[in-house]
Amino acid sequence: MIRFENASVTYPGGVHALKDVTLDIRDGEMLIIVGLSGAGKSTLIRVINGLVPLSGGDVKIDGVSVRHAGSRQLREIRSKIGMIFQTFNLVKRTTVLNNVLMGRLYGAGTLRSLFAWYRPEDIEIAMQALERVDIVEKAYVRASNLSGGQQQRVGIARALAQQPKIILADEPVASLDPPTSHVVMRDLQRINRELGITTIVNLHFLDLAKVYGERIIGMRGGELVYDGTAAQADERVFRDIYGRSLTADDVMSEAATAAATL
């Protein structure tokens, strides 16, 4: 259970990116966050694992405060939260397996990871993670030699190698083409259902949000402006979240057809 209690973030420079957000996320939920650029979606996701520090309120994970955790405890909290990024954030110069083993850093400990002396079980967990996203045959390939979609699956495998209870995904498909986006979103959905991992995803394509989300949250100007099921979220709801009428850029299928007819 993730619980936001009047969580606020003010960045240095004075931008209020998160304003007094109160929110409960149940275990095993698939939650999708939508909102315009700058609405605070990335900030909302990053306060969960403490990458962005809170300036007010608190976020508690199974009752443990993220805001008041010391650096050691914060690392322990993070070790159970996998994260997936828009630009994949892989180390391109090294192998896929080494990238996935970054998900084992906390489990392996400093000395072992320093000398790349991973236990067989760490390697096994990494390999199984790669199998789950169907890319294990690339284990010893340099990450830079993979396509964008493949790189993102490695990113998912790295998160899975942490054996996390929560997965955070910040615009995981924004750098991918529509068919690949669906592959990646289906992977996330499958992982959520099969492993029961709480999954929180930022998306800016509304049709994707409706297809893959169970629950949708809308943000505007750092505030929570919508919280409901995907079925309830119709065009009027999205218009309210965005504060404007919808355009072709807001949906992936339209964007795809627009690109195809160019």
């Binding site: 700058g38 939260i81 630009t87 954030n89 180390v91």
Partner: protein, 277 residues
């Protein structure tokens, strides 16, 4: 914020920094002053040509006695005596590079903005490193000859300090420019500073690190001539003793040996760099 975006107004052109043009101007002025009569360093083309004609006699003097022949009349019989000092220089450079570059690796991560544990350590580390780099290799050699006595050990310690200064500086600047994405990923997964540096940063800068290390190794071979002068061992010692007795034809053999050796090292390191990077 949404409110801040799109006010539609063109921003005022930011003021350009004057540092670069001012710096260029300063260089021009200093160059001009150096060449002028009042403040100059006595740079005079006519005098140089005259000196060269005089010096020419030293260069080409023929004689039966090796000790009196000129610089361009090398005494090949002296060649075998350069082997041992050259090997000593080589060994000194190897040890100094291995030790110096190994120490420089953690130092570089301590003095990069991206990987420093905190601001205080960053500031202190940078200050110490600036001092280390400000001291010239000859001065290190003098200091360690005084401390541990004449011989290659003093030279090695001097070169180690020199190498730490160079490699830590170059590498820390490379670390400043790495892709921050993997660092964020490592931190998000619960990695500590050491693990983040090892797995998110090191793979990104490893080719540069290898290149810098090879480069300092070459610099060490060259520096051996200078540090040998103050008694810190190697080929420089030999060069200086021959020079002191004006054995120009022996000096030229030492110079030739050194030249061939440096060229060889450079070729090998180019080849290595291409294979490793």
């Amino acid at each position: 914020m949404t409110a801040a975006a799109g006010s539609g107004q063109r921003p005022a052109r930011p003021r350009q920094s004057l540092i670069v043009p001012a710096g260029l101007l300063a260089f021009l002025v200093i160059t001009w002053l150096s060449l002028s009569d009042q403040f100059g360093i006595g740079f005079d083309l006519g005098a140089i040509i005259e000196d060269i004609t005089n010096g020419g006699r030293i260069l080409i003097t023929e004689s039966d006695s090796a000790a009196q022949r000129g610089l361009l009349v090398p005494n090949w019989a002296f060649l075998p005596r350069t082997v041992d000092p050259m090997l000593e220089t080589f060994k000194m450079a190897v040890v100094a590079s291995v030790v110096g570059c190994t120490v420089a690796l953690p130092v570089a991560f301590t003095v990069s903005r991206v990987t420093a544990p905190n601001g205080v350590v960053l500031f202190l580390g940078r200050t110490v490193l600036s001092v280390v780099r400000a001291i010239p290799d000859l001065l290190y050699a003098l200091m360690f000859v005084a401390a541990v006595g004449i011989g290659p050990l003093a030279g090695i310690v001097a070169l180690v300090f020199f190498n730490i200064g160079v490699v830590a500086k170059l590498l820390s600047e490379t670390v400043d420019g790495v892709d921050p994405g993997p660092i964020e990923a490592a931190r998000a997964g619960g990695g500590n500073r050491t693990q983040t540096v090892r797995w998110a940063v090191l793979p990104q800068v490893l080719p540069n690190y290898v290149a810098y290390s090879l480069y300092t190794f070459e610099l060490n071979i060259r520096a051996s001539t200078v540090i040998g002068i103050v008694g810190a061992g190697g080929i420089g010692n030999l060069l200086f003793t021959q020079y002191r007795f004006f054995n120009w034809s022996n000096v030229s053999i030492v110079v030739v040996t050194l030249f061939v050796f440096v060229l060889l090292i450079e070729l090998i390191s180019i080849w290595l760099r291409r294979r490793l990077v």
